[in-house]
Each structure stands twice: as C-alpha cells, then as structure tokens.
Amino acid sequence: MSYQYSVGTRTYQFADLKCVLAKATPARSGDHLAGVAAETYAERMAARMCLAAIPLKQFLEDLIIPYETDEVTRLIVDTHDKQAFSEISHLTVGDFRDWLLSDIADSATLKRVAPGITPEMAAAVSKLMRNQDLILVAKKCHVITAFRNTIGLPGNLSSRLQPNHPTDDTRGIAASMLDGLLYGSGDAVIGINPATDSIPALMELYYLVDDVINQYGIPTQSCILTHVTNQIQLIEKGAPVDLVFQSIAGTEKANKSFGIDIAMLKEAQSAALSLNRGTVGNNVMYFETGQGSVLSANANFGVDQQTCEARAYAIARHLSPLLTNTVVGFIGPEYLYDGKQIIRAGLEDHFCGKLLGVPLGCDVCYTNHAEADQDDMDTLMTLLATAGLTFIMGIPGSDDIMLNYQTTSFHDTLYLRKVLGLKPAPEFEQWLRKMQIMDEYGVVRAVTGQHHMLQNMPKHLLVAK
C-alpha cells in the first residue's frame, strides 16, 4: 500500500505507515527532535487525511516495528483478539473516530471491543480527534481494578499519596503520609520514589508504609518505586510488597535500556501474586510510562513518541495492573515543550490507555525547565478528571522535594472531587468517614489536635520524640 494524499495540485507522499502516523501527530518538540514531525501545517493535515482513509486492518499487516526484532510487536500481534476486532474490522481510521463518538459505542461495547484494538489503532485514531473527542470517548471506557480497594469505578477519582523525601528519612516520609491521609489522599496507592537503590534501606521503607497501613487499618496498598529486580530480591527476603512497580516503554530496545523485558515483569508479577496480600482483588502491578522515554533511549525506530507510548500500554494490559500512570510533563521541554503540548499529550495518553483497557491515571506535572506553570496543570487535571481519569498524584503543596518537579497536591484532589462531584474508592471513602476526615457529603472535616491519628502518630514519628 502506498501512502499519499493530494491537496489541489500538490501530492504529499509518505514513505510508510509510521511516517503517516508521525506526520499526522499534533506538533510537539520530541517529534521534531526525532526528525519525524510534519514540516508544514499543510503536510500535517494531508497526513491526517491520508490516515483517515487507512483501514484498521492495515495495522495488522503493516507492522511499524518488525515482529522479528521487537518483543512488544510480538506481544501486540500474538495477543490480538480477532473475535473482538470483528465488530470494527470493516472501519477505516476516520470511520473508527465516528464510531467511537457515536452512541453505538457505549461502555459495554467499548469493553468488549478493547482486546481487538491494537496500540497503533488507538494512537492513529487519537491523531484525528480533538481534545473534546479524547475526553468524551475516554469517559465511556470503564476500567475497574482491585487490590485492597476498588479503583476506577465511574464517578470515582483516586489519588496516589507520594510522600517522597530526598534522603528517604523515615520521619519525613511518615510526616508527609500523615498530611496526605488527613487530606483524604492515598486510595490509589501510597507510593514512594526512594532516593536510594540500597536493599536494606528499601526494606525499611516497605516496613514503614506497611506499619502505617496496619496501624490505621487503611484499605489501600503500598509500593516502593525501585527497579523491578530490586523488588523481586526484596520479596525473596520477605519484604511486605503489595504492588510491584516498573517503568515501561513501547519498544524492546527502550525496555532493555531500563534493564527489563516482558519475561522479567511476568516473573515479578508471579512473585507478588505468591504473597497473596490483596483482599478484594489481585491486580498487583503498577506501571509508569511517558511520551518521549523511547526516543530518550534512542530506541524509537522512526516511530512518533505518542504511538510509542500507546505501545507501552500493550505491555501494561498484558499484566493486569492495578494502576498505570502516564508521567506526562516530567521528561522535559525537549519532548513536550510547553503547557499546550503537555495538556494534549495527557489527554491522548489517557484516551489510548482507557480505550485499550488499561487503568490509566496521570501524573499531571511539569519541570522547572519547561514552559508551563500551575495554570496549565489546573487545566489538564480538570480536563482529565472530566474524562474519568483513574487517579492523580498527591504531593504536599505540589512540590516533590525528592524528584524535583511539580505535580498535583492533596488540595488538588479535593478541588476536583468538589467541582466535579467525584469520590474516592468506596472502601477508602468508608475509612475516611470512620476516621472523621470526610463527612457524608464528601467534604473534608476540620481536624483538631485531638484527632485519633494525631493522638496516635505513626511509630516512626513517635520514636523521634
């Protein structure tokens, strides 16, 4: 199949399918950096018009990264559900957009069809969609998971409590945890990005979070975001591991640069499942992704960064995670230059993830070398929560003092729940009421110094006194 489109007397030629995808992508610095972006506005529209006419079936024939050399491609092809695909197999990419927006594609239909959609199909159709389209369709996709609580129910917005500390000081971490819990955050996970790779220090962090969860009887789960091989080792040494974390990307070569492959992730999943620590479900994985990571590892093979990102969701989907988090503005301005590009990327990632059946949350964030600020974050978090986002981050005052970037705060979660009428995970909501942190209308209550949790501080804080 040749890829071209004529506008008046001018015919735009595209070398191959990945070239059409790249040039159809809304402008972003990472695709310019990779040398794959459209060179003119008109070329970008020609690529979109060309893309709209391509049959979805073509994506099963014309593989943008070869089957023989890439295990992510093999996973996508080998696990493709032809039965699920049959409902949409007659559509072009343009028709697919129309179908997704139509009332035929209700929540049950989208769930049924999801295993028949490949990441490339999802990425392709997203490139033809406006921001409101990405929001509307994502909102119809319900992805529900569970471990010690139920994540992703319609009308819920969860929050990852991220109590990071630059030297992993246990008192500092415990203080941020208490702050977040008293603000109603932490139902998605209490997840620490450790500063260290040291196994004994990591072991201490596992016990710290586990103690707090047990002491207050919190229906939530913990995670320490260190390399998956460390977590396997820690499980072997008896650490109380709830969720296993790993950063993943959309090509085998990029994953290799992270020091992982799919087999290693499966091994980690089995190890975590063997501990049998979930109470209401067994989704034991937590993944993080982000546009640009593949190019950053010099492993993109001419594929645009958004399509690479969608391919990472194929790996996530295969391992039934509790949570998957697109860390959208962390990577820096060379991949997503400003607020506009970050906002677009966040909406695309959430749409693609949900369409494929992945429980997508978003680290709505930016770094100090990007052209973005708190106003951009307010816009993105409000749009994503409107689209049915699974979870956001919760950091004291938006300032991550360990990772040196700005993400969403405990206050932000309360804002979104208030303006959009959203609730925490049901088990966690019950706990918040029982602890008198939140009233029956979802409003945070005034906490006095006599509050149970302040009178009975985590032992890591008490030790310091």
Partner: protein, 262 residues
C-alpha cells in the same frame, strides 16, 4: 492581623511535623483550596527555580576551586552551542564538540582508572556549590593506586557526554558530577553517575546514580562513601548499572555491629 482574625482559613494542627521534612505539609486550607500566602510562596519559589535554569556556570571559579585541591583540570564543550539548543536538543548535549574532541585526542595516552567529569547540566548553582566539597570528601575513600588523570569540566553537558570523554581518554570507569534539574525547594541538587567501561552508546541501565547531593540532602561524606563503595564493587565485578546493587548500607551495618557480637 493574626490568623485568628481570618475565619476563612482552616489551619492544620500538625505543623510541628514540619520539623521532619522540607515538604510543604500542614499548609492549611480555605474551603479545600490553598491559602493566598501559600499560592504566592509557591509562585516565588517557581520564579527562582526558573531563573536558576538559565544561570551560566562560572567555569573560571570552578577550575580554581578544583585546582586548589591539587587536581588538574581541562575544559570541553558539548555540541549544544547555547542554552536554548541545550534545552531542546539533548542529543547535542551528550556529544563532544568537534574542537573539544580534537583537543582530547591529542593528549598523551595514559591509563586512567577513575575519570571525573563535571557537567553544568540543568543547575550551574549545584556545580559551583557542591563539586569542590564533594571532591574533597572523596579523597578519604579513594584508593591511592587509582590513577585519576585530569578532571574534565564540560559545558552545556548531559550525563552521557562523560561516556565519550572517557572513551577518548581510555578510562576504565567514569563518574559524572552534574547539576540536576532544579526543584522548587532545591535549586542546587548535584547528581552523581557512575559508569564502568564507558563508551558512546551506554544507556541509563549501565549506570549507578546517586542523587540529591547537597548539605540539605545527601551530605558530601555520605555521597563520597557511597560512590567509592560502588566504584570498588564495579571494578571487582567489572560491571555497573542495574546489575550492580547498592548494598553499601549493609556493609556499614556489618562493620558497626561487628564489635557487639564479640
């Protein structure tokens, strides 16, 4: 006006926990939103961090402070010619400028065990404040038989430029000391990256990283101790990166507890 005159403001009765962390805890709230004071304070911190990204490194002063520790220095430049191209083109910051490459290629060849490269990265403030004290702290742990060669100072540098410098100079191992992206509360964090058998094309999985080196984060002596533990292990195992696990804390515990067992 005291806070009791502000009925809209709900204070958090756990402000004493601020003694344990620099995180922005116990901020209080108005309804469920941030109080004005906190919004403005955050805005000022962001403004200062934005300014730090664009502050150029004072290489003359850095050379002087390193030379005063009796190390030789030389300067190189990446292919990124200014801050704008540095920010948008990380590929340029990872490679040596042709002139710098030529300059290194004509140096007399000598075996280097442990090459130190210093890069401005995203915070020149981190480099000018913390590189000399860290080098000073490292001396207590450096094996005397290791040849360090010359310390290389790279401008508009990303981490991977150290691979190319090390490859040209024939170093067995390289450590990159580089300014990390400025945080809101920490515009001056230094990052430390160790790579065994460095060459152009090494990936992040081939490195061990120590981050947040500064007096308010990981202090110089602890960072130096950790780095040299990793470097000795890397040399023993002939590898660095994800397969080299940092168990320096365990070693420390064993040493400290050993006398009690007797």
């Amino acid at each position: 006006m005291s806070d009791t005159d502000k009925p809209a403001l709900q204070q958090d009765p756990w402000s004493q926990l601020r003694g344990f962390t620099r995180a922005r805890i116990a901020l209080g709230r108005v309804g469920s939103s941030l109080p004005t004071k906190e919004v403005l304070g955050f805005g000022l911190s962001h403004a200062m961090a934005r300014d730090a990204v664009h502050l150029p490194l004072d290489v003359d002063a850095l050379e002087q402070s390193i030379q005063s520790l009796n190390y030789q220095t030389l300067r190189v430049q990446s292919r990124a010619t200014d801050r704008a191209s540095y920010l948008l083109r990380p590929d340029l910051g990872r490679r040596l400028h042709a002139d710098s490459l030529a300059q290194l290629q004509v140096l007399p060849k000598q075996p280097v065990d442990f090459l130190i490269v210093v890069g401005d990265g995203l915070s020149s403030l981190a480099v000018s404040r913390h590189v000399a004290p860290l080098l000073d702290a490292m001396r207590a742990y450096l094996p005397v038989e290791w040849n360090l060669g010359t310390i290389v100072i790279a401008s508009q540098a990303r981490v991977a430029i150290a691979d190319e410098v090390a490859e040209v100079l024939g170093a067995k191992m390289v450590v990159m000391l580089i300014g990390e992206r400025p945080g809101l509360s920490s515009p001056d964090s230094l990052g430390v990256y160790l790579t065994f058998n460095p060459h152009v094309g090494c990936s992040d999985a081939d490195r061990n990283c120590i981050s947040n080196v500064r007096p308010e984060g990981l202090v110089y002596d602890a960072a130096a101790k950790k780095l040299l533990w990793l470097a000795k292990e890397a040399l023993r195992l002939q590898v660095s990166g994800v397969v080299l696990k940092d168990e320096s804390d365990a070693v420390q515990i064993e040493v400290e507890e050993a006398p009690l067992l007797k």
